[in-house]
């Protein structure tokens, strides 16, 4: 649980972050989204005290973050940034081992943790453990960056535009990986992005910021159906908000009892994808199947459409 209370940052007479308060549930992903200059990065950097707040405080599981030296606090919090910030003079394994080394873990534990993470992030240790970052592709570098951030098993992971430098295909893969990793470790993730699509895709809750102020902090569906502010509505996009709303619900969540002789769709597919499939195939209903291939129910076009309305 991260509680942000009245957090403010001023540089001279300029207020970059203005009395922002919200709480992030344990084991969830919160996304802070805003245009550049909205103060979203500064807000994130105040959580691990890379930026010291002018006013307000951050509580981590109830304890004020200022109750311990900043560098000790940061070793407990994962940190991944755009352009990954890997150390070019250290190998992949050394990069990943950075925080465990700072914490003085025994060498054997460091080695086993590095191997474990390389396996989770689909990096062949035999090929890449002793490679230098510049020998890796952009997607691999990004994965090493996240692996390094998670090396010391932090309960909280801060990510500043972590996928900003990736091309769309690798970015989609990286987002999926992040969701899987978050489920696996139960890490509380706070992620900053300027991309609303990414925010909706990853965030259980999304904080929309503009000019240093927090405009709205809620579930993606609420942002779409009840924007608190014209700016939030503009950010979420008015033209295709019904489709975006459909994208937030999975077939498994919306499936109704019954069967269908229409196309089979996986329960993890979004309603938007199911609707698209139905339009394409000309069928009026689809059969929802689980990962094991067993039927989970059916969806008609009419049933899907009810989810596209507030």
């Amino acid at each position: 649980m991260i509680q942000i209370e009245g957090l403010t940052k001023q540089y001279g007479s300029t207020t970059v972050v203005d009395r922002v308060s919200f709480a992030i549930e344990r084991n969830s992903i919160a996304v802070i989204v805003g245009t550049s200059g909205s103060g979203k990065s500064t807000l994130l950097r105040m959580i691990n005290r890379l930026v010291e707040p002018t006013a307000g405080r951050v509580l981590l599981d109830g304890a004020d973050t200022r109750s311990e030296p900043a560098h000790l606090l940061r070793r407990r919090i994962g940190y991944a940034i755009q352009g990954n910030g890997l150390f070019p003079h250290r190998t992949v394994a050394e990069n990943i081992a950075t925080v465990p080394r700072l914490l003085g873990w025994p060498e054997a534990r460091i080695q086993s943790r590095v191997s474990e993470l390389m396996e989770i992030f689909q990096l062949d240790a035999a090929l890449y453990a002793n490679a230098f970052p510049h020998q890796l592709s952009g997607g691999q570098q990004q994965r090493v960056g996240v692996a390094r951030a998670l090396a010391a098993e932090p309960a909280v992971l801060l990510m500043d535009e972590p996928f900003g430098a990736l091309d769309p295909i690798i970015r989609a893969k990286a987002q999926e990986d992040l969701l899987a990793i978050q489920r696996r470790f139960g890490t509380t993730v706070v992620l900053v992005t300027h991309d609303m699509e990414e925010a909706f895709r990853l965030g259980q809750r999304v904080a929309v910021m503009s000019q240093g102020r927090l405009l709205q902090y809620d579930r993606p569906a609420v942002l779409l159906t009840h924007p608190a502010d014209p700016f939030v509505a503009r950010m979420t996009g008015l033209s295709d908000r019904a489709m975006k709303l459909l994208a937030l619900t999975t077939a498994g969540q919306a499936a109704l009892p019954g069967s269908s002789d229409g196309p089979h769709v996986p329960s993890s597919a979004s309603l938007r994808e199911v609707l698209s499939e139905l339009l394409w195939s000309g069928a009026t209903s689809a059969l929802v199947v689980g990962d094991d291939g067993a039927p989970r129910g059916q969806l008609t076009v009419a049933a899907i459409l009810t989810h596209g309305r507030p």
């Binding site: 940061r74 940034i81 352009g83 910030g85 150390f87 950075t98 700072l102 951030a149």
Partner: protein
């Protein structure tokens, strides 16, 4: 396919331009310039001697044949290894011919006549040296190979000198007279250049780090060091004489340490002051070049500022800092020469004595080792920089 390959490899397809220039220079030197200069004693004017006058017919012909073959290789062969072999063979034969000429012109037991290399020898040596350097550059050897190559060349030259091959040559005559002082002055030269460098690193590195951390300090510090750089060395020695002399007179401890208005102290202080600019400036540039994302990540993961400096910033800035140290070391090895003028010692002593006595051989006794020292320092540090700079400096990508 095979036909095209054969045409591409045909040696007559293209004449090497550098080879053409060097061969032309070498040929002109062999035809028109004297191979050695003979003096009946140290201060008599020299008489030029042609190759044919000083070597037996077979010897002269042999040298000319080898040089001609080298020229053919330089003109038509593109393979770098063969070009290097040809250049080295040329240098060895040239050195043998010089030794033979000196022996032939010196009557047995004579210690008075002087035989010095003539203009043709120097032109040929430079041409062959350039050919060898060009070949080595084309081969792109790794840093270790370059250092080994340098060590081998110096080793062979050393062995030839130690074996007395060139003892009848005028430079070695000067060496024989000064053999007691030579190692001392050589060591003193290295010590003056290296000591002032060390002092400059000890002070310049922290100063550079400070300038990086506090941008306000940069203009005044770098401006002052730039100003020092513009003072001519001789003038700086003069400026330092008064304060150092006063210091020695007032503080017995300083005087006991050997600090005087003249001698080594002002030389070391002046070289130290000159050394500061490249070291401070390169430290600042090197630190600024470090990826901001890497520094941000290091801070964000919980490194203390000291750890960020020692584990991320300095290792990444090191190649640039070493480049500054290389500039300073090569510059110092050259500048220490002038320290001899104010009694600082070093190989410059021979240079200035030689100038005073119009004895060019004595000048060479000081100058050639200085050139070898500076060249070796450059090769060694370049190799070190290359070993350390395995990582590319990618432009940091931050918030767009």
């Amino acid at each position: 396919m095979e036909l095209r390959l054969a045409i591409a490899l045909s040696p007559h397809e293209r004449i090497d331009r550098l080879g053409l220039l060097l061969s032309a220079a070498g040929l002109a030197a062999l035809v028109w310039l004297p191979f050695v200069v003979f003096k009946s004693n140290r201060i008599m004017p020299g008489e030029p001697r042609e190759l044919q006058q000083v070597l037996p017919a077979w010897g002269a012909l042999g040298l000319q044949t080898v040089l001609l073959l080298t020229a053919v290789v330089a003109l038509f062969i593109t393979d770098a290894r063969r070009r290097l072999s040809a250049a080295l063979a040329g240098v060895i034969v040239l050195a043998l011919a010089l030794a033979a000429a000196a022996n032939a012109l010196t009557p047995a037991g004579d210690k008075v006549v002087r035989v010095a290399p003539g203009a043709a020898f120097w032109v040929l040596l430079i041409a062959l040296g350039l050919l060898a350097t060009d070949a080595i550059t084309r081969m792109r050897p790794g840093p270790v190979v370059r250092v080994l190559l340098l060590a081998t060349c110096i080793g062979i030259a050393w062995a030839a000198l130690a074996a007395g091959m060139f003892d009848h040559l005028s430079v070695m005559r000067e060496y024989a007279v000064n053999s007691g002082r030579f190692p001392l002055e050589l060591w003193r030269h290295v010590w003056l250049a290296g000591g002032s460098l060390l002092a400059a690193v000890v002070l310049g590195l922290p100063l550079g780090i400070l300038c990086h951390r506090v941008p306000r300090l940069r203009p005044p510090v770098l401006g002052t060091l730039n100003l020092i750089q513009t003072i001519p060395a001789i003038a700086l020695f003069g400026i330092l004489m008064a304060p150092l002399g006063a210091l020695a007179a007032r503080v017995p401890a300083a005087s006991a340490l050997g600090i005087r208005g003249i001698g080594a102290a002002p030389a070391v202080v002046a070289l130290f002051l000159y050394s500061l600019l490249p070291i401070v400036a390169n430290t600042v540039v090197g630190l600024r070049r470090v990826s901001q994302a890497a520094v941000d990540a290091a801070m964000g993961m919980g490194m203390t500022p000291r750890q960020v400096l020692s584990r991320v910033e300095l290792p990444l800035a090191l190649p640039v800092i070493l480049t500054g140290i290389r500039v300073v070391l090569v510059q110092n090895i050259g500048m220490v020469t002038i320290a001899a003028l104010i009694g600082g010692g070093g190989l410059g002593t021979f240079v200035f004595q030689g100038i005073g006595q119009t004895a060019i051989d004595l000048v060479l006794l000081g100058a050639v080792p200085i050139v070898v020292l500076a060249f070796s320092a450059a090769v060694l540090l370049d190799a070190l920089i290359e070993v350390l700079d395995r990582t590319p400096s990618v432009a940091p990508q931050l918030d767009p």
